[in-house]
Amino acid sequence: MAYTLEGRTGTWEVVCGLEIHAQVISESKLFSGASATYGGAPNDHVSFVDAGFPGMLPVINQECVAQAVRTGLGLKAQINLFSRFDRKNYFYADLPNGYQISQFEHPIVGTGVVEIELQDGTIKHIGITRLHLEQDAGKSMHDQHAAKSVIDLNRAGVALMEIVSEPDIRSPEEAGAYLRKIRQIVRYLGTCDGNMEEGSMRADVNVSVRKAGEEFRTRCEIKNVNSVRFVMHAVETEALRQIEVWESGGAVKQETRLYDPARGETRSMRSKEDAHDYRYFPEPDLLPLILEQDWVDALAAKLPELPDEKRRRFCAEYGIPFYDAGVLVADQAMADFYETVAKGRDGKLAANWISGDFFAALNRTGTTLETSPVSAAALGELLDLITDKTINGRIAKDVFEEMVETGKPAAAIVEEKGLRQVTDTGAIDAAVTKVLAENADKVAEYKSGKDKLFGFFVGQVMKAMQGKGNPALVNEAVTKQLG
């Protein structure tokens, strides 16, 4: 069911495209040797190039180029063997050169496509228009001094990838799913940490509304939205605002707006008339960026398996449902954990254990995959004990809790506590005989047609055997003796 908004004059459709700024993971900045690490004392990571000193020249950092290419490959996009840097000119105190080095006319990555999945399981494709490399600006702070603004240039010159989508997004949910998907892809690739709180990923959201069947109407750009939730909310809020403007007989003006999460609204920042004239022109301090196809191929060959492929492979290789596979590939570490457990074992059993008892234990103990008291190998050993019938599933849950508490291996716990499953049919028969004898009244009820009591007998037998009876054998013996 398509997402629409009801106005006074009818039904409206939302049209949205995202420009995602993703900070490249690299040792040093895009055009200087200064550290690109987050944090540090203000102006600690600043070279004379970053500070725009006279006579300083940019030199392209090859690793940043490789990261952009990897990301492009991850977005199934065209890698442009010829690209070029341009200067985007504007004055601001935290833009040291008075221009940002960006790629305007010839981006390093061209069109691509990303697959998103919606709540109802629908798969949708969102087009990628381009990805280009550019440098970040510094940070102005106006609250550190009574009369002065202070500037931190640590971020100035850090490489950013701007990933521009086609206006293919039609709902807040799709916007959120798209942003999460891009974040998942760059995290898999190791090209951006996707950390929106620290600002290493942020989005400019373009929103317009239209009636069914119409061409696009005027759009507004909402700048620097820094969480998935805010992006989703900004799309809805802005769409509602625009509908109100159109329906009151006005016209939406093309402008740049600011999202205020505290007040849940967007505000006008500057109109099209006040828009900067960036006077783009080719950066004369840099030669065009020419890539060798072999170099790109080598990067492609070393690309990690991406979430969509991994998900499909998990379904095929381990026989788990598509939805479950989606949960398991949500991030690389999780997928790796699953695969360590599932490899050579029953994939469904592994998936059930991880999404059930294991996740519950992480939540309960406040631990993560990395700090979990039960490693993937240890969990695998537990599953082996179930599969080879050393213990049954019921006992396995107790063993697992013990593993979480003590960190001991499953086999040791089983031995220590004598939890081995009883498969001795003599012992089982004896236990069944005893339970039936003690519950003669219920046996009579069962025989007069109360079939449901079968479970009661099995339960009682298991209880008598401290849960260690082999469930299949117990079932068999109960059936036989009830005759």
Partner: protein, 491 residues
């Protein structure tokens, strides 16, 4: 022979032979600077103490037998090269308090070779000018005089301080930079040799940028040989400048005695401009006769887009400059004039810090890059620039070098050509095309005007073929036998 009549090559031999020490040489030149600079204003900053210290180190190096041909040689450094710990102004008030904590690659290479820096030479502000009158630190006076006149003449520009310093014997050689003629035209105006190497031959790292796609460092000296010695030390790939060329640097001095026998020298018809001073044209004819006599073949060629050189240059260079100069905003370094807010501070700082010519070019550059004008100006200019490059490429399929005049006139008076900036821009008419094409070009002193002022001829070569340029220039120099001296000089 006076210590002030030496060339670098001769001085280097005298130093090597211990006939003279660098301390003696530098002491003499420090004295010349002290005596003449108040009049000529060739230096913005003089560094006599530093020079003497470098001279002492040079003498020790010579004594240890580790000298290069430049060890102990006193030079003037154009104040566009950032020099660590020594104020670097680009002749702009906006950089009056600026002391760079880093060294430009070219000045660093000269330092490494053991050359001595006497001071920072005056120039047109941010190298924008052809007369040195746009300097924020006052104009430079040309040490040459018209016969029988005491009128103060310009040394040309933008490397006018470098030119005046070498011509007046205040330095044995100098660095310059050339964006549209800024080495060649002042060399011609002051009777010096000066070469703009191929774009990419010398690193631009640490040189304050005027127009990045055109700026190129080069030497200015009393003769062609000295330029070769200087360029040997200045040239070379630098990983800090992405536009510097990854090419081996030949020993340019080996080309000096090659001669021109069998070389084909092109004479471009389009440089014979209507209204050009007949003296200049006569000198040009003389130049080609000399080369023919030396065994070269003279070939008439065409560079059909020559007439568009100046307009293209005055779009491309200001466009890049308008962006390059945005960093002078009063925020991080240089001069600042406080304002009520950020924009006000920018406006006051830049209004006070930049001179009229710099402001004019920033405005032209901003205009040609503006939305709606970009295609008509900047983009069109880039296309025509490609055609100019093609002119040279096609010409160099037929000839080995091209001979032209360097400038359309001899040095003019301070205050002349001041009314109309366009008249001033015409000074660059012969030098700009080679800059736009990125090919090497050298000015050689070739004669005197009827008023007794030096005139230069320009030799243009193929990309990275400075050797042929040196060979042809050396042949011209030999034939011209230019020995005239300026009136104002250290004696």
């Amino acid at each position: 022979m006076s210590i002030f009549d030496l060339t670098i090559a001769v001085a280097a031999r005298a130093l090597a032979a211990k006939q003279i020490s660098s301390v003696e040489l530098v002491t003499a030149y420090n004295g010349a600077v002290a005596a003449l600079n108040p009049r000529l204003n060739a230096f913005i900053t003089t560094t006599p103490d530093l020079a003497l210290a470098q001279a002492k180190a040079a003498d020790a190096r010579i004594a240890a037998g580790e000298a290069t041909p430049l060890t102990g040689i006193p030079l003037a450094m154009k104040d566009l090269f950032c020099t660590a710990g020594v104020r670097t102004t680009a002749a702009s008030k906006i950089l009056e308090p600026f002391i760079p904590p880093y060294e430009s690659t070219v000045s660093g290479k000269l330092k490494t070779a053991g050359a001595v820096m006497l001071g920072k030479a005056n120039l047109d502000e941010f190298a924008m000018g052809s007369s040195n009158i746009t300097s924020g630190y006052g104009p430079v006076e040309n040490p040459w005089k018209r016969t029988g006149s005491d009128a103060r003449l310009v040394p040309g520009g933008s490397s006018g301080g470098s030119a005046a310093a070498v011509a007046a014997r205040m330095a044995l050689g100098a660095t310059g930079t050339d964006t549209g003629g800024s080495i060649r035209q002042p060399a011609a105006f002051t009777g010096l040799a000066g070469i703009k190497p191929t774009y990419g031959r010398c690193s631009r790292y640490g040189i304050i940028a005027f127009a990045s796609s055109l700026d190129q460092a080069g030497p200015m000296a009393r003769n062609v040989e000295d330029c070769a010695l200087l360029l040997n030390a200045m040239a070379g790939f630098d990983e800090r400048d992405s536009t510097s060329a990854q090419r081996a640097v030949p020993d340019f001095t080996t080309a000096l005695n090659r001669g021109v026998k069998g070389l084909r020298i092109g004479i471009p018809a389009e440089y014979r401009l209507e209204g050009t001073n007949p003296e200049i044209l006569a000198l040009w004819d003389k130049g080609l006769a000399w080369l023919r006599a030396a065994g070269a073949e003279i070939v008439d060629i065409s560079l059909p887009h020559t007439q568009y050189g100046l307009p293209v240059y005055y779009i491309v260079a200001p466009a890049e400059a308008s962006s390059n100069l945005a960093r002078y905003d009063g925020v991080r370094f240089g001069a600042r004039v406080d304002g009520v807010d950020l924009i006000d501070m920018y406006e006051r700082t830049r209004a006070a810090g930049f001179g009229a010519e710099v402001k004019r070019r920033i405005m032209i550059g901003t205009y040609v890059l503006s939305h709606g004008y970009y295609d008509a100006y900047y983009l069109k200019a880039q296309k025509v620039r490609n055609l100019i490059l093609r002119d040279f490429t096609e010409a160099f399929a037929k000839v080995d070098a091209i001979l032209t005049p360097t400038a359309p006139s001899a040095a003019f008076g301070l205050g002349e050509k001041m009314d109309d900036p366009v008249t001033m821009y015409l000074n660059d008419v012969f030098t700009v095309p080679a800059s736009l094409a990125g090919v090497p070009a050298m000015s050689v002193p070739a004669g005197l005007s009827s008023e007794g002022l030096p005139l230069g001829l320009q030799v243009i070569g193929r990309h990275f073929d400075e050797e042929t340029v040196f060979a042809v220039s050396a042949a011209l120099e030999k034939a011209a036998g230019f020995t005239a001296l300026p009136e104002l000089r250290a004696k």
